[in-house]
């Protein structure tokens, strides 16, 4: 475990509710009720501010801290690339870590999609995406929902 990761665990970045957000999205693990909410404050398609809150384990918080740090002050396009890159590497990491990272990435995607929908309908409700990975052992070996 390197010091950079420990530093993020000691002091998770961008954690908590963003009071002046204009979009929110949830990534949810349907197997165990864990979830992540990502708050965005977007202006001119740039993420001016971002925060997240998790009901989950430390690995989820770590993933949230790393991903939101990367997404902060980036364009929505860049943030979507970050989501794709995260989802693309899930099969190369242990299942429990994959589930946590997927949950954060999907929460970010949900928040971006909510923002886009709210450009058409300002009362559009917050979007929730469910993860396909699971960190809960499955008896039948099925991991996708």
């Amino acid at each position: 475990m390197d010091n950079m990761l420990i530093e993020h665990m000691m002091n998770p970045r961008n954690y908590g509710v963003l009071e002046d957000s204009n979009s929110e999205g949830i990534g949810k693990n349907p197997h165990n009720g864990e979830k992540v909410i990502v708050f965005l404050k977007v202006k001119d398609d740039i993420i001016e501010d971002i925060s997240f809150q998790a009901i989950g384990c430390m690995t989820t918080v770590l993933a949230g801290s790393l991903i939101t740090t990367e997404a902060k002050e980036s364009s929505l396009d860049r943030a979507e690339e970050l989501v794709s890159a995260t989802l693309g590497m899930l099969d190369r990491i242990p299942p429990e870590e994959a589930a946590c990272s997927e949950m954060v990435a999907l929460a970010l995607q949900a928040s971006i999609d909510t923002y886009k929908e709210r450009q058409k309908d300002k009362n559009f409700p917050m979007i929730t995406y469910k993860i396909a990975q699971t960190c809960v052992p499955q008896n039948d070996g099925v991991v996708n929902e």
Partner: protein
Amino acid sequence: MNKILIAIHEIWLETLMAAFMSKEQASKQKLFDFSDIFFRHFTWVENGLIKQNINYDYNRNTIPIKVDNLQIIIGDIIRRLNTLELSLVDCEDKALSQRIETDIKYMKFTLSQIDDEKVSSFDMGRVLDGIPLSEEATDALTLFLFEESYKEYELIMIYNYLKAHSSEQNLIRIFQILIDESFYHLKQFGQMMSDMGILGVPRIIAKELYQVENITQFLENGINEELNAKEECKKLSDAVASENATLSKFFDFINYQENYHIELMKEALSQYKKETNV
């Protein structure tokens, strides 16, 4: 009064963190005692909010604690206490604000007398009691401490909320014991984190965790979580057993303590089920 609740919540946690940082026993004890008093202030203010039927939550700001010297964090606690004193002017319960103010005056005086110390709680040395563990055991212990210190804080807040909204004496007794137990665990884990140079404030708790809609479901899940926690303690005890017997015994002790929690939660569950005829 909501602002006062948030301010006291933050002061309580910052003072607790300062206690972990101090290596001088007399200073450490004062800081632990004061943090306990701040927590009680928190419950007084919370009770006031409930009586006045004011909506509130346990949201707060993140608390920066990374310092090189104890004086810096103590200075920040005193600064927060000064701000709190000003906010108390707006508190509707004048008798309560007066009681808190007299505490604050003494605490500020006492805090200002505490000697400075170098702080090593953030050096990431990750060695406990001078006994190096293998990399695997150190990583397992690190992750365990981050997970469980947050979990204990979460449990304190959940049980405190349930207690604050209970009127049945036996349930209040059960929740108070569970709060006390979680405080003991939080203090043990927090001290270990500070000694290992990885101290961090537990993260903010999500509202839906303590504003429990289905208490029987919460207690049933809680009993399962305690059983899992026993397993985690056992795994950790086994992982460090060959390298540090004292640490192994400590985690066995924590493991056996979970039996009390399970028993108390079963008792609370049975009472809730009886009350709701489930």
